[in-house]
Every structure is written in structure tokens, then in C-alpha cells.
Symmetry: C2
Subunit: 444 residues, 2 copies
């Protein structure tokens, strides 16, 4: 299919290209267009029927959108904007430099221009910035027949007709009704009698993470967005929510690996930007880890007399770090999915103490057997290592379990209490434990 | 609202409870019921109208489903099963012990029983195990008017009518058409002429991760599932996909923190099970980290003569581990979102070398300034530490960037190449570098 179209393009048979392409899914057309060189891309884009062109436009990367807008006429820009859904228009303008925004706004009427500017001003990641205004609104006095006729007349320009919204004359949200309910009801029934009145809605300023969790809870396909007077101003649809869930997860992964979060795809980001996102945390953690080094320096003499002690430092540090990361990861994830709340701090503490004891005991015994019997390490040194390991693992589990909850309570993102920071904290505790146990037991 | 219902329940005014509750969203009813003690839960559940009861049933936790089935009559079980969507029935049975499954199957007719058994046999996480059979099927010879009448007649029992599926007499999938398209078209138009023929479909054995990525790519609300003869056997809906995305992400988080993945919520899992999921990897990593200790033991004499070297071990190990984890996290995430493919290995390598040099240089200079000028560490020792740090960070970036891709190529889940394993590998490299540089530069 794709090969065939490429070869038609190569031969310049654009009428045939058009015939083939219009039956494809717009996402596939967008992907195909991306692979063309820029000149051919422009030719192919221009032969697309305008409804398809605008659909394709919303699926190509920002830099190609920019290129196309720069290259086409004002007339063509108007055509695309006419067909583009409002939320896609706003999404695209948010990523464009000001000269492109100007060129686009010049081609819209006064009213749309005002609306676009209003939407561009909503806080990033708020309901206002992700909602669309193309929804079906009904009146409660309508009969089902009238409602369906209204949908038939206006539905063509709407992003979805699957859920319709009932508003009064002041645009106050009064109810929702699904297209399914409308179709399955008697034609003479009143919308008021069959609509759902217990409407779950969101405010323009609500954060996208909160919105995503409401969608998940109720399995919604779309949700109404209202302003402070409860006037319906837009809707958010599930396809945007799916993108948000992925983005929020990526952000968590990045924070948990001690990076500044970024929405850019890895391969599209240049080395300087990547380095910038990574360096701050690495520096902070490097300096904190150096402080751990000071603990060793304090015990330099003990170490010199029993230098074999140094060889267990990596194992103790790594095991402590890993044990702590396991706990912190589970708690961070639980907090972000809403399965663990701030009130669960004592439940978590108690659970981590139990798990910690079980895990610590198993690891210590395994370790003692290995180093004393297998590697023939002196009994007292083996004991020092084993006792330290036990308390290291236990402490790591407790610290890893509790710190994310404390962070959340202090309104800090729990995701930063992940592996790297936990490891650094646990390391300091481990080495202090290790050398104090050593000096007591070995009398050094 | 909730308080009011609780107090009505307390007073035993169940007629009033019923009146209040039927206007609520089923998800909220489910949440309310969960908070009741078991006896009252049963009373409230029994007064619910049967369509609501089955909806609520699909939203309560497995142990309450089990309790309800154990406590109600066969007649009541039949009523619930009648209204329950097929995929919810299968989901629930998958989690039940065999005596409950038997009790439920006893209350279904021969045909349903066979179908349920067939669905329970689909591999876990396959399209077959998550699809539902309640979809609208149309024939291409129908007019729009006939199609809408057909939907009106049969739609009430379907999970969704938003997308309808066109099949021939052998149930072979021929096209899809949205309810929107049907409503907005002329009544006399033929389904064949307005349906989409370029249908994206999945096979019963396709894995849920693949399915989720197709949903995301095309922004679908539902997708048809076909068997090997391309016969339509079910559909998958977006609400299930959203759950799957969360589950897959949780699984990645757990694997990346060196745990065996588990779908149980943290607070509902007992300490032994939690410990079991964590212990294997901790043991494996503990033993590998011990091997790192052997490197130190090999250089015991050098260490004894310049014991201050030991105090930089934590900083070197932690920084190397962190630098590697950053890279591996980005690559693992990119692989799982499909932004990075196996063919990008050289692009990743080159990018990580660039980023690695930038980051390594910054960290080394900062470190040299700090230890030599601030902490007055001897010049040669400072140089040893700084040179080691540079190469540690660079190696960590390369190892962290490449190992996840190699894992994927070997058909191993890249997520295990995360922080813990990378840290252990990088530690060994770091210490070898450290002591060989030290023995060369310090002549020990």
C-alpha cells in the first residue's frame, strides 16, 4: 500500500495518489507524509480534500506543521482552520513561534481570535488548555425527536456526538445524555425526563492529573468543563486523557531517575538539552554522596587496621539502596494511582517493618553463610557485616516507605523520593551503622 | 449526600435509601457500598434495581463480589448475570475460586456456559481475555434507516453503540461505521456506501500492550477483534485500555525497581507476599555486588597504603549508578512508548556519548574543584578521583543507554535493565577503573 503510493508520488501521478490516499486512515496518511521530503510533502498535502488535510495536519509533528503554515497561502490556512477542531488549533498554536501564531490569527474572524487568545491564556495542564468547544448542546424542553434533528443539523462540526450536554438559556449545565439513550428512547420523550442530572463536571482550572483520575474512576468518554458560574464552556475527551496519562507517567519515570521532566521525545532532543536535564540532580547527589565519604574518613584508622572491611562497602550500599528503592517505588506508584493516601502512613510503616524484617533476615542469613563459610571471612568481621546488613535493609525499607508520603504531605512531588535520593540517604545510614558496629565488635 | 444515605441506612429506612441511591452514578454507589458492614451491604445490594445492581457488582472489589455470590440465591445470581456485560462476567470469574465459578456457571444456560469457558481459556493479557461480545453488528445491504432501527431494537444490551460493525453472512468483518456517521447520513443511503472499509482490527491472541499502542495511535474508542478466519468475535473498548495502560506502567515501575510485578494493591497485600516479590532480585543483586567487593580485596594493599581512597568509593559508586539510571530510564520508556526502536541503537549510542562527555566533564571539574581546593586533598589523589569520575559517568551513560536495547533484541523485557542492575554493573566498572588508575598514578 505505502510502497505503491510512494512509487505513484515518484512518478508524479498525483491524481492517482489522491485516489489511493483518501481511503486511508488520517493517522496513516500523517505517518506517510512525514516520510516524504519537504517539497513532495507539500504537494501531497495540497491535493488532500480539506477535511482530510486538517485531520492530517493535527497528527503531524510541530516542525512539519510550522513548515506547512510557512509555505501555504492565507486562503489555504483559512481552509485548514475551518475544519480543524478547536482544541487541535489551540494545541498547535501553543507550540508555534509568534510569527506563525500571527499568520494564523490573521486568518480567523474577530470572535475566533478572541476565543483562541482566551484559550492560550489558560494555565498549562489545566482543563481549559485541553478542552474543546465543539460539543452538542441541547435544551431540556426538547423532545428526543427534536434533539436528534438538532444533532443531525449541527453534529457535523462537533468533535463527538456520543455524549450531549443539556444547558439552560444562560448556558448553565443542567444534565448530560448519551446518543445511545436518545436513540433507544421514544421519540416523544422529553430530554429533561431521560437525561442524567447527577453530572460529574470539572472546572476550567482543574489540573489534568485530577481530570485523568476522574475519567478512570467513572470510565467516561468525555466530561463537561464549566466556569466558576457553572456555565458550560467546553468538553474534554478520552483521547486527550490517554495522552495525558502517558505524559504524566513519563514525567514520573524521569523524576524517579533524578531528571528534570521533559515532554520532548528522546531522539528529537539534542545532547545539550538532554545534558541540562540531567546535570542538576547529578551534581546535588554527587555532593551528598561525598558527605557519605566523610563518614569513611572519620573511621579511617579503623579501616586501616581491618582493611577487609572496605570490600563489603559496595555490597552493603547497593543492597540498602535496592531495598529502599523497592519500597519507595511501590509507595510513589500507590500515591499516584490514589491507592495509598496520606492517612495510610502508619499502615505503610507497619507493613514495611514486617516486610523489612522478613527480607532483612533472609538476606543476612544468606550473606553470613556465604562470607563466613564460603569465603572463610573471620567470624567477628562476618558478624559485623551481617548485623549491619540486617539493620541497613530494615532501615532502607522504612525510609523508602515513609519519605514519599512525607514529601506528599509537604506538597513536594513524591516521585523525587525515588531510588537516587533514597540511595544517598540510606548509604549514609549504612556506613555509620557499619563502622560503629565494627569499632564496637572488633574493638578498633 | 453520602452522610444522608448512611443515616437512612442506620435508621433502616431502606425504601428511602433506594429512592436516593438510584439517581447516583453506579461507581459512586459501589464506593458507598464498600464502606458498609457486610450485613448492611447485602441488604442495600438486594434493594437495588437489577440493572443498577449488576453495574455496581462490576465495580466492587473481588472479595466483596465473592461474598455477595456466596450469600445470595440462585435466582438473584441469574438476575445479575442477565444484566452483567459479558467481559465483566469473565473478568470477575477469572478472579474467583472454583466453587464460586461453579455456582455461577450452574445459573447460566448451556450456550453462555460454553462461551464463558472459551473466554476463560484465552491467554491472559490477550485480546480474547479482555474483549466483550456485546457489540452492534450490521449488514452492508441495510439502509441507514434499517440500520438505525436495528440498533434501536438490539442496542439496549450492547456495551457500546458508538461504533457499529458490518459483517457478512459468515460473520467476516467487512467494515465499521460510527453512530455519528449513521445519524448524519441520508436515511436512504446504503451502509455499504458510507462505512469505512479500511478497518484496523486485532486478533484474539494479540497482546494487550500491542492493542493499547494501536488505540493510542489512532485515538480509537473501540476496536474489533477477529479470529484467524477474520470472523468478528468481539470488541475491545477504551475503558479497558485505560486500565491496561495503568497496569502496564505499574508493572514497568515494579520491574525497574527490581521487583516481581504484581497486580495486587499494596495495602491489600500481606507482608509475606510483598517480601516474596522483593527477595529474589535483592539476593541476586547482593551476590553480584559482593563480586564488586572482590575487586577491592584485590587492591587491598594499595588501599592500605592510601586509605583515603576508600572515602571516595560511595561518591563514585552513587554518581555512576545515577548517571546510568538516567539513561536507562529514558531508553526503557522510549522503547515502551515506541519512540525508540531496535534500529536506533547507533543513534542512542552516539547521543549518549555526547551527553556523557558533557555531563562527565561538568561533574569532574566540579568534583576536582571541591576536593582539591576545598577539602585540600592531595593533587595526585584528586586527579585519580577526577579521572575515574569522568570515565565512570561516560561508561555509565553508554551502558545505561545500550543495555535496554540489547535486552529487547534478546526478547528480554528492557525494564529489568533499570537502576538496580545498571548500578551493579557500573559499580564493578567504576572500582576497577578507580584502583587501576590509582595504582598507575600513585605508584602503589
Amino acid at each position: 500500500m505505502k510502497e505503491k503510493i510512494f512509487s505513484l508520488i515518484e512518478q508524479g501521478k498525483y491524481a492517482d495518489v489522491r485516489k489511493e490516499i483518501v481511503n486511508m486512515n488520517i493517522v496513516d496518511i500523517a505517518q506517510l507524509i512525514e516520510e516524504l521530503d519537504r517539497q513532495k510533502l507539500l504537494v501531497v498535502f495540497r491535493i488532500l480534500p480539506k477535511e482530510i488535510a486538517s485531520g492530517v495536519f493535527s497528527y503531524i509533528p510541530n516542525k512539519l506543521q510550522k513548515y506547512i503554515i510557512e509555505s501555504i497561502t492565507d486562503e489555504e490556512i483559512k481552509n485548514i482552520l475551518d475544519e480543524l477542531f478547536f482544541d487541535d488549533t489551540v494545541d498547535f498554536l501553543e507550540e508555534m513561534p509568534s510569527n506563525i501564531v500571527k499568520k494564523v490569527l490573521k486568518n480567523t474572524d474577530e470572535k475566533t481570535r478572541k476565543l483562541i487568545n482566551q484559550f492560550l491564556n489558560y494555565p498549562e495542564d489545566s482543563a481549559g488548555s485541553i478542552m474543546t468547544i465543539e460539543f452538542v448542546d441541547l435544551k431540556k424542553e426538547m423532545t428526543v425527536k427534536e434533539a436528534l434533528e438538532h444533532i443531525k443539523k449541527t453534529g457535523i462540526d462537533k468533535e463527538t456526538i456520543n455524549t450531549c450536554y443539556v444547558i439552560d438559556n444562560n448556558r448553565i449545565l443542567e444534565g448530560v445524555i448519551s446518543i445511545r439513550k436518545l436513540i433507544l428512547s421514544e421519540e416523544s420523550a422529553l430530554v429533561e425526563d431521560i437525561m442524567e442530572k447527577d453530572v460529574v463536571y470539572i472546572n476550567t482550572h482543574d489540573d489534568q492529573e485530577k481530570i485523568a483520575s476522574i475519567f478512570k474512576k467513572y470510565d467516561f468518554l468525555s466530561m463537561p468543563v464549566v466556569d466558576n458560574e457553572r456555565r458550560l464552556v467546553g468538553i474534554v475527551t478520552i483521547d486527550d486523557i490517554v495522552d495525558i496519562i502517558d505524559r504524566e507517567n513519563t514525567e514520573d519515570f524521569q523524576k524517579m531517575a533524578a531528571m528534570e521532566p521533559s515532554e520532548e521525545e528522546y531522539l528529537n532532543t539534542n545532547a545539550f538539552v538532554l545534558a541540562k536535564h540531567r546535570i542538576t540532580w547529578l551534581l546535588v547527589l554527587m555532593v551528598s554522596a561525598s558527605l557519605t565519604g566523610n563518614i569513611i574518613r572519620k573511621f579511617e584508622e579503623s579501616l586501616q587496621s581491618v582493611v577487609v572491611l572496605a570490600s563489603f562497602i559496595p555490597m552493603l550500599m547497593d543492597t540498602g539502596g535496592n531495598a529502599g528503592s523497592q519500597s519507595s517505588t511501590l509507595i510513589i506508584r500507590g500515591l499516584s494511582l490514589g491507592e495509598i493516601t496520606l492517612n495510610d502512613v502508619f499502615k505503610v510503616l507497619w507493613k514495611e517493618i514486617q516486610v523489612g524484617c522478613l527480607v532483612a533476615l533472609t538476606l543476612s542469613l544468606a550473606n553470613f553463610a556465604r562470607i563466613h563459610y564460603l569465603e572463610k571471612i573471620d567470624l567477628l568481621v562476618s558478624l559485623v557485616v551481617t548485623i549491619t546488613l540486617f539493620f541497613t535493609v530494615l532501615t532502607a525499607k522504612i525510609v523508602g516507605g515513609i519519605l514519599p508520603i512525607i514529601a506528599k504531605r509537604l506538597k513536594v512531588d513524591p516521585a523525587i523520593m525515588a531510588s537516587p535520593l533514597i540511595t544517598t540517604i540510606v548509604d549514609a545510614i549504612t556506613l555509620t551503622l557499619y563502622f560503629s558496629t565494627a569499632s564496637r565488635l572488633l574493638g578498633i
